[in-house]
Symmetry: C2
Subunit: 356 residues, 2 copies
Amino acid sequence: MGVTKKILVIPGDGIGQEVTAWGKKVLETIAANYKHTFTFDEGIMGHVAIEATGDPLPEETLNKARQSDAILFGAIGHAKYDNDPTLKVRPEQGLLKIRKELGLYANLRPIKLFDDLLQASSIKPEILQGADILFFRELTGDVYFGEKKRSDDRTTASDLMIYHRYEVERIARRAYEAARTRRKKLCSVDKANVLEASRLWREVVQEIAKEYPDVETEHMFIDNAAMQLIKDPKRFDVVVTGNLFGDILTDEASQIAGSMGMLASASVGDRVGFYEPIHGSAHDITGKGIANPLASILSAALLLDISFGLKEESQRVIRAVDATLRQGFRTMDIANKHTPNDCVLGTDAMGTQVLK
Amino acid sequence: MGVTKKILVIPGDGIGQEVTAWGKKVLETIAANYKHTFTFDEGIMGHVAIEATGDPLPEETLNKARQSDAILFGAIGHAKYDNDPTLKVRPEQGLLKIRKELGLYANLRPIKLFDDLLQASSIKPEILQGADILFFRELTGDVYFGEKKRSDDRTTASDLMIYHRYEVERIARRAYEAARTRRKKLCSVDKANVLEASRLWREVVQEIAKEYPDVETEHMFIDNAAMQLIKDPKRFDVVVTGNLFGDILTDEASQIAGSMGMLASASVGDRVGFYEPIHGSAHDITGKGIANPLASILSAALLLDISFGLKEESQRVIRAVDATLRQGFRTMDIANKHTPNDCVLGTDAMGTQVLK
Ligand SMILES: CC(C)[C@H](C(=O)O)[C@@H](O)C(=O)O
Ligand SMILES: CC(C)[C@H](C(=O)O)[C@@H](O)C(=O)O
């Protein structure tokens, strides 16, 4: 018996448009092959939404999001805002607001290397081989959402880094539950030697740890973690950390997977799930048709698994990506200069290969 | 004509004691060979100071620091405090306080690989070869020094991430001046798409950039920078960033230099300079006699160069380290499992080799 689900697609900015088209096509193909009924709607967010409505997250998009069973998102951001830090309305506010409004407090980022990309990374193959990390990044707290201030004379600016006990508890529990189904190791990352918010974080994780005596807990400072991740990625299983540290570590960890263009993430909370590539809007390559669609396709795989519980379908997508790589097909970002046999494709040709 | 200088040695905690002994010996040897008069005093700070006086930075140490021409520091921290985030008096407070009291607002961390360590890193040699980065980390502002709060019921904790215009200006100028003497590229790292403090940071750097039209300026988000640093370290020349982001990026960058045990840093402000390895107190290897003394020795080299203007003497120390590595001598942290010819030494034997 097939399932019936409503999916909202939010392509967003830059290459978001190009890659999300392929995530969607993969979902359509899965629906057709497995006799599910997926209905799609589309919403705007980010720079495109500001241009169209003045609002980075229009009410209409938010309403559609609330009524959907899962959301497939692309990317957000535009150079115009990066170059002018004084602009008040900014694309990223749309993404931050939807995370907050939908209560998407846990951002899951699985980092696993496809065997065929072992050479694509700047890290040595023997360091990478076998690395398999699942990040839990807290997504609705921290310095991202604490009060922001600018003095009247504009010479002083501040953001409040703040955590509440319940925020740490719920993400820690999710991370421990996941660790139980994996190699039973959890590393919590903070800066408790300097930050009060981190000291609360550590206290709470130490408490929750007692509920999971079968999981081995380690606490690490963020500076050390940023180093260990490159030095010895295999030492990590599940990593749980705050919003800001998670943002930094997961982007860094993209080098373990060979490329940013390969990584998907799932943002979940109490209801609807939100799936997105971890790469950004990449305006420098927008419109050139060379963006890597695999992260969006793998986001679709995460969506099938986590939001719809369709494990077999999700695995099918991952196997298709694996097979495509095995045949030597690459987008520019994951091509290896030293393996001239690789066949470098554009976005659409790559997407088509995966669909096959 | 030799110079006469007062140097304060603060070994601090853990391996700080073992490695600083070698930084000091190198300074003594340089003084003898070049007919300088260096007088040494010693001060306590960190966990050892808490044990002795209850205060992580006793007045006496601070007074000695104020009266010296340069300070050679080891490391700080102790597992006891890491495991108990509720302790009020903490070793790190000593380090943070001395940075603030001496106005050491600019932390310089040169990242350069010694050719003989090309194999010691987890990153591929072809990615590393030729990488040469100079970090300027702001050291007396940011979330490190903003107000810390804990609610009465202890369920909410916060730290204020705050920057003032003058703090950004002075570190940016120092970084631009250095870029002028190098490859004339400056990358400023922030999170201006989310943080107000970062937007101020970016505005000010954009302004200062106008005074240095001969230097090419780039602005990068911290998440992207953490990724690019591993993907393509050669793209960076001078990097300037805030206290927290600098803490993370420079530890991560240690992988570019082959090991944390190789990296020295200089903290400078308007007067006395403060020199320290970037590695920590490493209690797990304390007392075993296996810590790498090279970061402390290279800190001494930085001290000679920056605080005393003794360029020739500083280069002499760096050449001695280079020669020691070329002869195949390694401490455990930089030994290469795949080159069995390396000769693995303990702290003292390694120090002795450099002195030769
Ligand atoms: C675009 C930006 C606001 C966002 C973040 O920092 O969370 C992005 O970097 C991410 O990781 O999803
Ligand atoms: C020990 C700690 C307070 C310190 C810091 O975070 O500044 C250390 O990590 C460093 O980089 O010097």
